[in-house]
């Protein structure tokens, strides 16, 4: 039905997709799997008209088509249900259902024919066998009801291909079952499904065929019945490039713990019962899939997320009151994931950004010690090789990598004993990535402790001494970084089964 041939997509010099080919048959559930950054989202965005491709063709029933904008995709019957629900909370189910469609109105005047709308919606509901109170406001709906509503919305239009992006991410087991029933009903009516998920069990159970993506390329399309979890994960992790660059450093076991967590849960339960410890001079990696609570864990330690219970000990002192300011005074620093939103003051200069955490060093009550500030900033720009015209240059004019260096310089200025790094090399160039890794290892040599969160297994394997795997807010495994492979770590993540799988097997 839909054929994708040799699709390319470039961002700058970097290929996000390279020669991607894929075909989806009528009434097929086609699964799409791959690691973070393998190119799944990019492919979906091209199919739905959000991105344009830089090469290759898309054919619909053997006819070449150009999906220039989302409207076009909808018109030719490609509908998508995004991971983050796109509903208007203050609207009812009915209103959300007709969003973006022409409302049925009376011939005279513009009054909407609510009755006709309701009838049409109810009919669709019966056709699909969904039980859902459409009179409810979207904000009062459960995640499952919202998913159903979104699928109904897709079905309102001519829906030949339905793309589902992590549809079960927010659903519990029973709700997932309802979703699977609905998917099967749609397929029976001839709709094709492109099913994107991290959950191997669902894929194996639901799909007819599965395409594995890796580093922007298709690693292969297979019949699901020939596949197993192990095989899929193996295909996803590219063994050829996975040479472990980790330089083994022996962490003296007599060193003291800088950070100890015992049964720590956050108030919103995004972090549940986490226990871990980080020693002086140790780099500890935390790996987990999207939504596993990685960022939330660091925020809980740093004090930007409320802690519910558990014990948090820093350098032998039991911590009972939390705030970033207090964390900083204890020598704990957070390198946030989103540096533009949480790390930098965008309308300030390199200098002003760099000294923000350590203003007391550069000021008395009555004035800023400008000379001292300038001298120190100058030194650190040199040390970290920050490329900027001057320290007065607005931070926004710097490249991502150099901005991140400023964030690191700011952190280093406060002489931290514990670094909480959240995706420290995200959206930085390869050179800077190496530099940041070297910097963290150097800090570890100086007896600082590093807790590193990354969605890139390779990064964790490259520099961490010990690795924890996080799943649904809990630590589920711990590995010393010896002879452990990315495959093993991913197996742990993907093998976290849901209750329903255990029952069904």
């Amino acid at each position: 039905m839909l054929q994708v041939k040799q699709l390319d997509k470039r961002f700058g010099h970097h290929y996000a997709l390279l020669g991607v080919s894929l075909d989806i048959k009528d009434g097929e559930i086609h699964a799409l799997v791959g690691e973070n950054g393998a190119g799944k989202s990019t492919l979906i965005k091209i199919l739905t008209g959000i991105y344009s491709s830089d090469g290759g063709n898309i054919l619909l029933h053997d006819k070449k088509i150009e999906i220039t904008e989302p409207k076009v995709a909808r018109k030719i019957g490609i509908q998508v249900v995004h991971q983050d629900r796109q509903l208007i909370n203050s609207f009812t189910g009915y209103e959300n259902l007709f969003l973006g469609l022409t409302y049925p109105t009376y011939k005279v005047g513009f009054k909407i024919r609510w009755k006709a709308m309701k009838q049409k919606a109810e009919q669709l509901k019966t056709n699909l066998g969904i039980s859902l109170d459409l009179g409810k406001l979207a904000e009062h709906m459960t995640p499952s009801e919202k998913t159903m509503l979104e699928i109904m919305r897709a079905a309102m239009l001519d829906c030949r291909l339905l793309i589902l992006d992590e549809p079960t991410a927010a659903l519990n087991d029973e709700e997932s079952e309802l979703l699977f029933d609905l998917i099967n009903k749609l397929v029976a009516k001839g709709t094709s499904i492109l099913y994107v998920s991290h959950r191997m069990n669902e894929i194996l159970r639901l799909s007819h065929r599965v395409t594995v993506m890796r580093n922007g390329k298709v690693a292969g399309t297979y019949f699901t019945k020939d596949m197993s979890k192990e095989k899929l994960v193996q295909l996803m992790t590219d063994q050829t490039t996975a040479a472990n660059k980790h330089i083994k450093r022996s962490v003296n076991s007599s060193k003291l713990d800088v950070l100890q967590l015992e049964g720590v849960s956050s108030f919103d339960q995004k972090v549940q019962d986490v226990s871990l410890h980080v020693k002086q001079g140790e780099i500890v990696g935390i790996f987990g899939l999207a939504g596993s609570g990685r960022t939330e864990l660091l925020e809980t330690i740093y004090g930007t997320r409320k802690i519910r219970n558990g014990k948090l000990v820093i350098k032998g002192r039991n911590i009972t009151s939390f705030s970033p300011k207090k964390s900083l005074s204890r020598g704990v620093i957070l390198i946030p994931e989103d540096r533009r939103a949480d790390g930098l003051i965008l309308n300030m200069s390199v200098r002003e950004n760099m000294t923000l955490s350590t203003l007391p060093k550069f000021s008395s009550i009555f004035r800023m010690k400008k000379k001292k500030e300038q001298a120190v900033v100058h030194t650190w720009m040199g040390k970290l090789q920050v490329k900027a015209v001057s320290q007065e240059q607005p931070i926004t004019e710097l490249s991502g990598g150099n901005q991140q260096k400023v964030v690191f310089a700011k952190a280093l200025l406060s002489d931290p004993i514990l670094f909480l790094c959240d995706e420290p090399t995200q959206a930085v160039d390869v050179m800077t990535r190496e530099e940041i890794h070297r910097l963290l290892i150097e800090q570890a040599k100086k007896d600082a402790a590093v807790l590193l969160v990354s969605s890139d297994v390779q990064e964790v394997l490259d520099i961490a001494d010990r690795i924890y795997v996080l799943h649904e807010g809990k630590t589920v495994a711990e590995f010393p970084n010896k002879a452990v492979t990315s495959e093993q770590i991913l197996q742990v993540c993907y093998n976290q089964r849901k209750q329903s799988d255990v029952i069904n097997e």
């Binding site: 309308n347 955490s357 007391p360």
Partner: protein, 321 residues
């Protein structure tokens, strides 16, 4: 050669973005000087203008502080009225002058801090909160005065600050200049000022950098209320009477001045000298137009249009860069 021309054009544009408002102010002065040469461009009138704008400048400084942290305080007009009324009442009751000034100032700091506390503690919009506070303060002012102007039995000493001169320059003008310099210094040469700007620039990043966001915001609101009350007291002193609505007229021009100020010196950022220039432009316009016998309603129209044009120019300037 070509490249030199382009860099020249770029630097000219940049110069215009940074000093454009100041330039416009000078242009306005030149126009009025030509239109009414005998009355506008005289030493007496300059002194007169400096006295007229002093209240506006002082109250605008406070508005600039809260705008720097990314908030608004809509209660400053009511705060000024209350400040003037309390001071006048105390003066009528025969309290010593220093107490008549100190008490309303202390009250204003407490009220400002409460404003900040409500906003930072409950994470509510400053817009609505201070609108509510302004209404409360207005009510209290009316209760204190029964809605009437206080003018009887006000001692002469109360008029000292508002009406006396030092070396032929009004004391009011000295106070205005002194406070402008003090707050310019605070905002650009102390860690406190740096923190306020950081909070306004990115609250989340500031918090992560260990800046006590709530505490500093509360202080900004306290300073803002303090300056508003002071403007109200000085205005009562100048008039020798206190009206329960005297501050209302200052509220909108104060924000107009601060917005105009954002178009100069530190572009897109509320800044003290920018606010000073903004307030001066508004004051000079009022003065010059009055001399040209332009009716006051038309003056409002002109002032309003200038503010709108200023924000548009600033937006265009920023998009071009």
């Amino acid at each position: 050669m070509n490249r030199m021309q382009t860099t020249y054009a770029v630097s000219l544009r940049k110069w215009f973005r940074v000093y454009g408002t100041l330039f416009a102010g000078i242009l306005i002065i030149l126009c009025f000087s030509l239109l009414s040469p005998d009355s506008f461009a005289t030493v007496d009138n300059v002194i007169n203008i400096s006295r007229q704008i002093s209240f506006l400048v002082i109250i605008s400084l406070g508005a600039t502080l809260v705008m720097a942290v990314g908030e608004f305080d809509l209660s400053i007009g009511a705060m000024a009225s209350l400040g003037g009324v309390v001071a006048a009442k105390l003066a009528v009751a025969g309290q010593p002058m220093w107490l008549c000034i100190l008490i309303p100032l202390v009250v204003s700091v407490v009220i400002g801090y409460i404003n900040g506390w409500i906003i930072t503690k409950f994470k509510v919009l400053s817009f609505i909160t201070t609108l509510g506070m302004g209404t409360v303060l207005g009510g209290i002012t009316f209760w204190l005065t029964d809605g009437a102007t206080i003018f009887e039995n006000i001692p002469d000493s109360f008029r000292y600050l508002g009406q006396k001169m030092w070396f032929t320059v009004p004391i009011l003008s000295f106070i205005m200049l002194f406070l402008t310099i003090v707050f310019w210094y605070i905002m650009s040469h102390t860690a406190f000022g740096r923190k306020l700007y950081a909070i306004g620039g990115n609250e989340s990043a500031s918090r992560n950098a260990g800046v006590a966001v709530a505490q500093n915001k509360n202080l900004a609101f306290a300073f803002c209320a303090l300056l508003a009350a002071l403007a109200g007291i000085l205005m009562a002193s100048r008039l020798g009477s206190a009206q329960p609505t005297s501050g209302d007229g200052l509220f909108l021009p104060a924000y107009a001045a601060a917005f105009l100020g954002m178009t100069s010196f530190k572009e897109g950022v509320p800044n003290i000298w920018g606010t000073f220039v903004g307030a001066a432009i508004i004051g000079i316009l009022a003065n010059g137009l009055t001399m040209l016998e332009v009716p006051s309603f038309l003056q409002d129209v002109v002032t309003g249009c200038i503010v709108i044009v200023a924000v548009i120019l600033q937006k265009i300037g920023r998009d071009a860069s």
